[in-house]
């Protein structure tokens, strides 16, 4: 699991990736919304005559120990994996925007207090913070969302605070004040939109990160449990057969990496387009 500190630079991909990224992301979104469009088979159809089959034309990703088609399971897993990514990112941003904006705008004691809280949160490596949440609540889909959300919120909060402070320094804020606009007007019309603009891209990056994160929890057997075909759960289930059936482990992994890379690349492109508001 790699967690890139989003306060600095996110992943950079060469240009031609954008088209591929769009295709991959589109495919995953379709799989999540209507998996039936992509495959006619059922993800739970057990075929004990065809267990642990290597990839072939019939089963492009091979089959698992119950003879279930792995590709079909991956397609049906998209909903949970994507949902996890989106849910966790939304939760993290809800926290982060509240904390970041409050700190930057209130300043003084409030800012100092929030900054201290974030500092303490930073003392915990993200995975450990997530594991602590799971230990308290017990593993489940909802717990994974909360765990990943809480694990990544401090980084975003710090970034948002910095962003707001930077925009506040910008000349156009003072220019608007000098024109006679009130503080709230300036915040609403200049500060908020300019501080939020780069966040759209960061949130996109965050979804990719969260998918990877959540699957790592499942991989450790601490996230969504195996009957589910969430991608991390697939990995966890495949570990039993790692010495004999490599595809159970490698191929879902490839899918996760591909999706994470695509979403990240799109985020990067967005970031480029939107540009930083300040400086």
């Amino acid at each position: 699991m790699t967690t890139i500190p989003l306060t600095t630079r996110p992943i950079r991909l060469p240009r031609p990736g954008t088209v591929v990224s769009l295709l991959v992301t589109g495919f995953v979104v379709v799989a999540a919304l209507a998996p039936g469009l992509l495959t006619g088979d059922s993800p739970t159809a057990i075929d004990l005559t065809a267990t642990l089959q290597a990839p072939s034309w019939q089963h492009p990703f091979g089959t698992d120990d119950a003879g279930r088609d792995l590709l079909v399971r991956v397609i049906y897993g998209a909903r949970e994996s994507l949902g996890l990514g989106l849910g966790a990112t939304a939760l993290a941003f809800a926290f982060a925007i509240t904390l970041g904006f409050t700190a930057a705008l209130a300043g003084g004691v409030v800012d100092a207090a929030i900054t201290r809280v974030l500092e303490v949160a930073f003392a915990f490596p993200s995975l450990l913070l997530a594991l602590l949440v799971i230990a308290v609540r017990g593993p489940s889909l909802a717990t994974s969302i909360v765990a990943v959300g809480i694990g990544s919120a401090p980084g975003y909060a710090r970034m948002i605070r910095g962003q707001v402070l930077a925009v506040r320094q910008a000349g156009f804020i003072e220019a608007a004040t000098a024109l006679g606009h009130g503080r709230l007007t300036v915040i609403r019309r200049h500060l908020f939109p300019n501080a939020m603009r780069p966040l759209v891209a960061v949130a996109t990056l965050g979804v990719g990160q969260s998918i990877v994160w959540a699957s790592a929890l499942s991989f450790l057997g601490l996230g969504v449990a195996p009957p589910s075909s969430e991608w991390g759960a697939l990995l966890d289930a495949g570990r039993l057969h790692i010495t004999t059936s490599w595809w159970l482990e490698i191929l879902p992994g490839v899918v996760i990496v591909l999706v994470a890379l695509s979403v990240t690349s799109l985020g990067r492109t967005l970031q480029h387009r939107l540009g930083g508001a300040a400086r």
Binding site: G171, F172, A176, A178, L179, G180, H181, R197, G275, A277
Partner: protein, 549 residues
């Protein structure tokens, strides 16, 4: 270097000869066939505005034109060495030893992480001069020779611990470490205060007197006047005029040179237009000497630094600004002039003292009570780039500003019509309504900034270095625009600048600031012709001039 030229001293007095130099980036030709020569003990100045190709020319002379460039010439010859067909290895032997190069001072022109002494002696090390201890001594000696006080101490410090002037001296010390016969200086005084600028020019003059050939690159004709024997004026990659300094500066033959010279604001240009053909005197506008529009009483501002030491940035500053008048505040960096402007705008609270608007409280009001009065005080900043919300179009910016005035537009159509009228007033037009400021040129952006300031029909406009980031010809247009608008609208300007020429050109009365205090104030004529304070006199002697004309 052993360069035995077989030809019998054809042009003995020529050190560098460049013929038909062309430089292109991709398909874009930025230097279009220029020729010049440099002679020992002489200074050739290459002058031009941004984008003229002067800096590219300078870099080409040390083989550092940059990636993706193609350089062609009939000849580039440095004392018998052909620089046109030179390997990278051979270039390295030339740079630093036979050609010294001085960049514009920026905090980062020297490596921040290394000691000044190491930076100065680096050419010595690269070219294998002496041992480590010897080089360290030589660095101190060099720093001393360029007038750095306590050179031994300075050599152990890092660049960020030195002032801009000292850093520029260190850069020069490094460039002349191996006493190269040719010294190229690219805008060596641009970021410096006027008094320091004069000292650095003197340093280059001393080098010239010792027989070094100097090529001085500058955008500023008056800086060049102090040093140059020969001047080449560049525009769009071509030399449009080239000749002895006295002739080019005082009897220019080319229209462009004339335009450049006319655009320089100074004591001679008061009351005349800087841009355009007319240099007709026009009557000064009438100033209403009744009640001041804006009045500052004993302003003092103390900042507490991170080291818990208080610094008085503005110290007991008082002034009055009357209707239709321009009050200039001039001072070097750190003199407190911008802080004064921000206090006058009530964007910064003074530690003590008060600002009155039309004799009524202004700075003492609460934010809520002051807001409705803000429309009467406009502002134009130096950097219009950051003073516009990057998401907003010119039209939206102006409509927003119009809405804050006394008579906000009642309909979209009216707002648009008035925005267009404002744009026309500042020399732009309806075509610019949908433009985003970031995509406009520097001069256009500053026009939009002026239009925005004028939209609410203010009585006072605070101009904080409004033309400092502009080329001289654009600066001339913007200054003319400001003067025209004052005639038309009768607004008062509080005009902040570091440039004495600009201040002299626009101001009715002048305040000279130093270290937060007003050291001299009076009418423009008084301050410039009969300065009483030694600092003002020092400033005035340091100002680069074209010389008696």
């Amino acid at each position: 270097m052993t360069t035995v030229d077989a030809r019998p001293l054809v042009k003995q007095a020529t050190l560098l000869r460049v013929e038909n130099l062309r430089v292109a980036f991709g398909g874009d030709e930025v230097v279009k066939g220029i020729s010049f020569t440099a002679r020992p003990g002489q200074c050739l100045a290459i002058v031009g505005e941004s984008g003229s190709g002067k800096s590219v020319t300078a870099r080409t002379l040390v083989g550092l034109t940059g990636a993706g460039s193609s350089v062609t010439a009939d000849r580039i010859d440095l004392a018998g060495t052909d620089l046109l067909h030179t390997s990278e290895r051979a270039w390295r032997a030339v740079r630093g030893r036979r050609v010294g190069f001085v960049l514009q001072d920026a905090l980062v022109s020297l490596d921040q992480l290394r000691r000044v002494g190491d930076e100065v002696s680096e050419p010595l090390r690269i070219h294998g001069w002496g041992g480590r201890a010897e080089r360290a001594d030589k660095a101190v000696e060099l720093l001393g020779s360029v007038g750095v006080p306590e050179p031994a101490v300075r050599a152990r410090q890092r660049p960020y611990e030195l002032s801009g002037g000292l850093r520029q001296r260190a850069l020069i010390a490094s460039a002349i470490a191996l006493d190269p016969p040719l010294l190229i200086a690219d805008e060596p005084t641009t970021a410096l205060d006027v008094t320091v600028q004069a000292q650095v020019l003197d340093l280059l003059a001393a080098s010239k007197a010792r027989g070094t050939s100097i090529i001085l690159i500058s955008h500023d004709l008056s800086v060049v006047a102090r040093l140059a024997d020969e001047v080449a004026v560049m525009r769009d990659g071509e030399i449009v005029e080239h000749g002895p300094a006295a002739q080019v500066l005082h009897e220019p033959r080319h229209d462009y040179t004339r335009m450049l010279l006319a655009a320089i604001p100074s004591e001679h240009t008061r009351g005349t237009r800087l841009s355009g053909p007319s240099t007709v005197e026009r009557p000064r506008r009438t100033i209403d000497r009744g009640r001041p529009v804006l009045e500052a009483r004993h302003l003092t501002k103390v900042f507490r630094g991170p080291d818990k030491v208080d610094r008085t940035v503005v110290d007991d500053v008082s002034f009055e600004l009357f209707g239709g008048e321009t009050l200039g505040i001039v001072g070097e960096s750190g003199s407190g002039k911008t802080t004064t402007a921000r206090i006058a705008l009530a964007l910064l609270a003074a530690t003590s003292g008060e600002v009155l608007l039309h004799g009524e409280p202004w700075s003492a009001l609460t934010t809520e009570r002051r807001r409705p009065l803000r429309r009467q005080v406009g502002v134009v900043y130096q950097d219009p780039h950051s003073s516009f919300d990057p998401r907003w179009s010119v039209g939206r910016i102006l409509t927003d500003a119009l809405g804050t005035g006394d008579r906000p537009p009642r309909s979209k159509a009216e707002a648009r019509e008035r925005a267009v009228r404002l744009l026309e007033q500042v020399g732009l037009g309806a075509t610019h309504l949908d433009a985003v400021p970031l995509r406009l040129s520097g001069g256009q952006r500053q026009r939009v900034a002026i239009a925005r300031a004028l939209a609410p029909e203010p009585k006072v406009v605070v101009c904080d270095e409004p033309v400092s980031a502009l080329d001289v010809s654009i600066q001339a247009q913007v200054l003319d625009l400001l003067t025209d608008l004052q005639h038309e609208l009768g607004v008062s300007y509080l005009f902040i600048s570091h440039d004495l020429g600009v201040i002299h050109h626009v101001s009715d009365r002048i305040l000279v600031m130093k270290d937060g205090r007003i050291v001299e104030h009076g009418t423009a004529a008084d301050v410039f012709e009969r300065p009483r304070h030694p600092y003002t006199r020092q400033l005035l002697t340091a100002v680069p001039r074209l010389g008696a004309s």
